[in-house]
């Protein structure tokens, strides 16, 4: 058998040197290689927390006894709960939970202290927004112990008997919207958002960059066509593609994962439209910056990574520190997740979802303005 030429160090060296030179020229790839580990370390090290604390809680107390005061204080000091609203009206508790403004609502009924002293085991109602079981699980699990230890110092003297046997309070935890704590109720609607983010941004970024890379942009620019015509013309097919993806996911969600559809599909459709267009605009903006398709892919990935990690898709949003939540609030996926979970699981109306639709609209507006400013009608 004939043998090929020997392995030669000088040829290997030639290849390695060439690769290093090219790597140094490609600034974005270099930035990615350094940037990705830093971003990952920051997010996983500092931002992500699977045991969220300081969860916003609304309290409705119709009893002014030392027992009810002790329970509210204990909730706060447990660090799991942070009382943000003191309500007077039970309807408000429902509204706050539906809009996701609080994670928990605690209702202490009238005569709570009196019934407790009589040994009647009054009910203490705790309603949790269980759309994301991971966000509420630990706090709900700790409730029993928190209430017991809050009451213990008060149960002495004639009340010492209550400290024995059955707990003196009938703690009722209501896991709203997802009573069985099924994670797919949370994940499957969320997937709709992440899949759309990924495909819409990459598709558009590539579609426009391709024109430039292949040289067809020069021909296009030489013909009488307005930038806005190019932009809308490029994005329209992808809105349709996004629509098909949504139908596939919704069908699977209903038939395979039995995720309920409590709300009005039209409200979801409105949120979807804004969300899809916002992502397309991001892709278009990237395409005006990227000089080739590889760069467009890298930029899309750069945007996608924080989107899935900081939006509340993978990890509870409220588990993140304030700075990370602020970044998260700027991402369209964060708001879309609230819309899709709100409509499908909670039955939220357009009015309920508006607080999450306008930030997406604002994002869309800002990105579109940037994209149109960056888009050049000339080759300058």
């Amino acid at each position: 058998m004939r043998r090929g030429p020997h392995f030669a160090w000088h040829r290997l060296a030639a290849m390695v040197v060439k690769e290093f030179i090219q790597m140094r020229r490609d600034r974005l790839t270099f930035a990615m290689m350094v940037g990705i580990p830093i971003i990952q370390l920051t997010l996983f090290g500092y931002a992500i927390n699977a045991d969220p604390r300081n969860l916003p809680t609304a309290v409705l107390s119709q009893d002014n006894s030392s027992f009810s005061r002790a329970i509210v204080t204990a909730l706060q000091t447990s660090t799991y709960f942070r009382v943000t609203t003191v309500a007077q009206d039970p309807d408000l508790l429902d509204r706050l939970l539906a809009r996701g403004e609080v994670q928990f609502a605690v209702e202490i009924p009238t005569g709570f202290g009196r019934d407790l002293m009589r040994g009647d085991r009054p009910a203490l109602l705790v309603m949790a927004d269980a759309t994301d079981p991971a966000a509420t699980g630990n706090a709900a699990g700790a409730l029993d112990r928190i209430v017991q230890s809050a009451l213990a110092p008060l149960l002495d003297g004639p009340l010492a008997g209550l400290a024995q046997g059955q707990p003196p309070v009938d703690l009722r935890i209501q896991r709203r919207y997802n009573p069985e704590g099924l994670t797919q109720y949370n994940i499957v609607p969320g997937l709709m958002g992440t899949i759309l983010t990924m495909t819409m941004i990459i598709m558009t970024a590539l579609a426009v960059t391709r024109e430039r890379e292949r040289g067809t942009m020069e021909n296009l620019l030489a013909m009488p066509v307005r930038p806005v015509e190019v932009m809308i013309g490029k994005l329209t097919p992808f809105i349709l593609v996004g629509g098909i993806q949504v139908l596939v996911i919704l069908t699977a969600a209903t038939l395979l994962f039995h995720v309920p559809m409590v709300g009005d599909p039209l409200v979801l459709a409105a949120g979807l439209l804004v969300f899809i267009v916002a992502n397309l605009a991001v892709g278009f903006l990237f395409s005006t910056v990227a000089s080739n398709q590889l760069q467009a892919m890298q930029m899309s990935f750069f945007f996608f990574l924080p989107s899935i990690l900081m939006s509340g898709f993978m990890f509870p949003f409220r588990g993140m520190p304030d700075w990370a939540q602020t970044i998260g609030e700027a991402l369209p996926l964060t708001h879309f997740l609230r819309v899709v979970r709100g409509v499908m699981l909670k039955g939220n109306t357009l009015v309920d979802t508006w607080p999450d639709i306008w930030p997406m609209l604002a994002f869309l507006g800002a990105v579109s303005v940037l994209a149109v400013m960056r888009y050049r009608q000339t080759l300058d």
């Binding site: 040289g215 067809t216 020069e218 021909n219 030489a222 013909m223 009488p224 000339t378 080759l379 300058d380």
Partner: protein, 314 residues
């Protein structure tokens, strides 16, 4: 409006960073002419063409294309100008017909189907209309690109090195088509590196380092160069050494071998005659006074052009 010259620009200037690519360019092209645009690589031909059709904004100067201001009326110019890019810039993943159909839609042409069919017939592309543009050979791609940019019957056609890398037969057919279009009243500005193509133009303009060095008919440009040329032929072995001997003599500016013949040129006829005098007596050598070629004139112009700082030295 139709009486306005096809192109009339003054002092056109374009800089990229600190490099001036086009520097104070003036040009007038009358209607119905085929105007050649020549110059070495990197001389600013493509940049000038792009400024004419609104693809680049000039940093200085002013002018009109078809009577429209190139600075403020790029939109109107785009509607009435056809531009064929140097690199094939139609969609390779669309068929020939789909490409033409796309262009026809953009220009909102009447009776689109008919127009596209007619263009396919004229360029003998009808049988290949369902073929993907990307699978065409260089000559056919060029033919398709021309079909696409004359589809809307532009008044001015800008062609940027349209025949680079195309075989001689396809090149000749292409130029026959250009002449047919010009007879129909279309004005053509075409950049090229081929001297035979330059000689098929009504007028030519020569650009080097972003400056216009010569403009006129082929005969005018040659005359303007002030060059004198002698041809000398002889035995192959002697020609090689003779070339070196001649090049070293004052008064000889260019010595170019063409097979067994040398073209010897200089801008001072008397000095050149004196330089070659000692060799004229050699019995093996046959000397004749000749007309300088366009290529001689261009190489001479380029050698004389001042190299501005910032331009790549060669």
């Amino acid at each position: 409006m139709t009486d306005a010259p096809a192109i009339s620009v003054r002092g056109l200037t374009k800089r990229f960073g600190d490099k001036t690519v086009v520097d104070g360019f003036d040009l007038d092209v009358a209607r119905g002419q085929i105007h050649g645009f020549l110059g070495p690589n990197g001389s600013g031909k493509t940049t000038t063409i792009r400024m004419l059709c609104g693809l680049l904004v000039p940093d200085g100067g002013s002018g009109t294309c078809l009577g429209r201001d190139i600075l403020t009326e790029a939109w109107e110019i785009k509607r009435r100008v056809g531009y064929m890019t140097q690199r094939f810039s139609l969609y390779e993943d669309l068929t020939i017909r789909e490409n033409l159909d796309f262009v026809a839609r953009l220009y909102d042409l009447d009776r689109r189907r008919e127009t596209v069919d007619r263009a396919l017939d004229r360029l003998r592309l009808a049988k290949r209309s369902g073929q993907l543009a990307g699978t065409l050979s260089g000559g056919w791609k060029q033919r398709l690109a021309l079909a696409a940019c004359v589809l809307h019957e532009p008044e001015l056609l800008l062609l940027d090195e349209p025949t680079a890398g195309v075989d001689p037969k396809a090149r000749r057919e292409f130029w026959d088509e250009i002449h047919t279009l010009a007879e129909g009243g279309m004005t053509v500005l075409v950049s090229t590196h081929y001297m035979d193509e330059a000689e098929r133009c009504h007028r030519i303009a020569y650009l080097a380092y972003g400056r216009l060095l010569a403009v006129g008919t082929v005969a005018e440009v040659i005359a303007h160069s002030g060059l004198s040329t002698w041809h000398v032929s002889g035995p192959e072995r002697r020609i090689g050494t003779l070339a070196r001997d001649l090049a070293a003599r004052p008064g000889v500016e260019m010595v170019a071998p063409f097979g067994a013949t040398l073209h010897v040129s200089g801008s001072q006829a008397a000095a050149l005659a004196e330089a070659i005098a000692p060799f004229r007596a050699e019995p093996d050598l046959a000397w004749s006074a000749a007309k300088p070629s366009l290529e001689d004139a261009f190489i001479h112009l380029m050698a004389e052009a001042p190299v501005p700082s910032g331009a790549p030295s060669r």
